[in-house]
Symmetry: C2
Subunit: 322 residues, 2 copies
DNA sequence: TTTGTAATTCTCATTGTGAGCATAATGAAC
DNA sequence: GTTCATTATGCTCACAATGAGAATTACAAA
């Protein structure tokens, strides 16, 4: 008898609070202790569309309506990081959702976690993190050297240079998934060492320094989500889904930086925002945040119907603030 | 008893021949006569991954191995353009595949069709097509005028301007899906008028001038594929999957133009290709194609490991050849 | 030889991007 | 009450990328 197929709707729900991007996780019910992304099964009888199905169970679990929702990717490997299920084949349709508040309905097993706990090498706001220099690059060098000399080794070297940046190639903030997959192939993230045995390398802490693991292939999904989010910031006004109604330009910039994982040049950032006519002043000012009071702005929703790609442009290179 | 879920793997197989992008279709087995994209069901027992499943049945059907394959989107609406199936909920995972040859194993019900038969407004190589000026824009104007005056109408106007271009917004070649969906909402494509009755508006010809329909939601899938392909051309060297081993720069340019649906400035195009070090000379020349003989080039596969985004840049604006 | 068609080389103006200087407006420290 | 730290805001400059086109070269066919 053929196995059945079930469809799981996975949500990567992202908010930004305290200058950190955070993701909603539930305590992992899987075979290891790692937290998991929340998900609900598709009810083929009740959910008219996949997205509506997702919204329905998220509302049921957290009492919140999702603002921005977009489909990310469909994962369907037979053994998605856990033990293969003998009874049913599980297909995971992953979504990215953005929410403003981090408030949760009380009594839920869900919790907000800093995204960079799971992908620490992605946060370069303070320059290249020591983790990258001291641990990841050496480990990658070893992985490269482990390949037979010649084309195979050059291939590994090239991939590492492109994904993690090097002299020639800068650092492409969007290649989040490429980087995670490279670390996975090199056997450096805990998930790669999970043979299927319970508790095998799946510690929720991060002793090795290569980021805390998530259940099954959920860290891959999170990497997909962060990469997509970073890419889309450039040409869609997504940041505003994460900000309060009124905000200062510095808040806006910090939120973008937080997601992009790099610092931006303040004056140029403002030039872009103004040129794009993305915001309009409210007339009010934010009472002193430590310096000269900042004007408060609100998002001009009309831009979406005015210009083709109204995003908060990320520059090519990460640039330090002056 | 809950309905079962089955997963279909849909392939948008694209090749470029005779200065036209073509897509592989099969004669529609659905409730109308429109052709369909080929697809095969996921076998949960035999296919280890979704992509392997797709490759397996494509190989079985056409005897060909796919070169480039990427996942596009997962469609799961209950009523995906056809009559709702009472027994099973069908989820469609759509893929884009690129192939070089258009040769088909003999005796197959598949056929290559020009992509622009289904999306005629997307081909602007000869300037804005008359279809757009004479039929689509007037029809859209009527649709806009049909909305209650005020915000609703401005919203429709804005969407039409952005997706189909206007004075302010140029023409964004990548917004293929947006355009199709707008035409669908405005009730202008045949699929939108299919109530479910057989033969209802599903004629394979194109009397109304809004493109030939495909079965179910397959034209939506095709639009997704073309949009993705156009976008990815810019930062990935995908064109070369569609070209022979050796080619002239004009062949390369024509292939890009064919997919992008716009003419490009020859000199600038060559500058981009050279600057990107995407190709290398073979030393041979193409014996006269009508003028001065052209050097033959081959793709430098190494670039993929050298630079982060080695694409054949599409310019922002469509520019006539000089 | 003339003509048509491409291939190839160069210029040039305009715009966009990365960086940095200078000035203004606050609250907190002394 | 002056100084200082901190942030907002305005302006300039160099340089790279882009869009457009002139000019020149190489070949086949008429």
């Amino acid at each position: 008898m053929p196995r059945e197929v079930t469809v799981g709707l996975h949500a990567t729900i992202v908010a930004v609070t305290g200058a950190e991007p955070r993701v909603l996780t539930v305590s992992g019910g899987a075979d290891d202790g790692a937290p998991a992304l929340p998900f609900g099964p598709l009810d083929p009888d009740r959910h008219r569309t996949l997205e509506l199905g997702l919204r329905a169970w998220v509302r049921g679990q957290t009492g919140k309506d999702l603002a921005h929702v977009e489909q990310l990717y469909t994962f369907g490997d037979r053994d998605r990081g856990g033990a293969a299920d003998e009874r049913a084949r599980v297909i995971a349709v992953a979504y990215l959702a953005l929410v403003r508040e981090r408030h949760l309905a009380a009594g839920h097993p869900a919790a907000w976690q800093a995204v960079y706990r799971f992908l620490p090498w992605e946060d370069r706001r303070g320059g290249e993190p020591a983790l990258l220099r001291d641990r990841i690059r050496p480990a990658l060098d070893a992985w490269i050297a482990a390949a037979p000399a010649g084309a195979a080794r050059r291939e590994r070297r090239g991939r590492a240079d492109i994904t993690f940046g090097s002299g020639a190639a800068p650092w492409d903030a969007e290649r989040v998934l490429d980087r995670y997959e490279l670390l996975y192939e090199a056997g450096l993230v805990a998930e790669a060492r999970r043979g299927g045995g319970p508790g095998d390398g799946g510690a929720a802490s991060d002793p090795a320094g290569f980021g805390a693991p998530l259940a099954l292939d959920h860290r891959r999904i999170l990497a997909t989500a962060l990469g997509r989010l970073r890419g889309k910031l450039k040409y869609r006004p997504l940041v505003f889904e994460l900000l309060p109604e009124a905000f200062t330009l510095l808040q806006l910039q910090r939120t973008v930086e937080t997601l992009a994982g790099v610092r931006l040049h303040k004056q140029n950032f403002r030039r872009l925002v103004e040129r794009g006519a993305l915001v309009e002043g409210t007339g009010r000012v934010e009472p002193a945040t430590g310096g000269r009071p900042a004007k408060l702005f609100r998002f001009r929703r009309e831009v979406q119907h005015e210009r083709p790609a109204p995003g908060v442009g990320l520059p090519g290179l990460p640039v330090a603030d002056s």
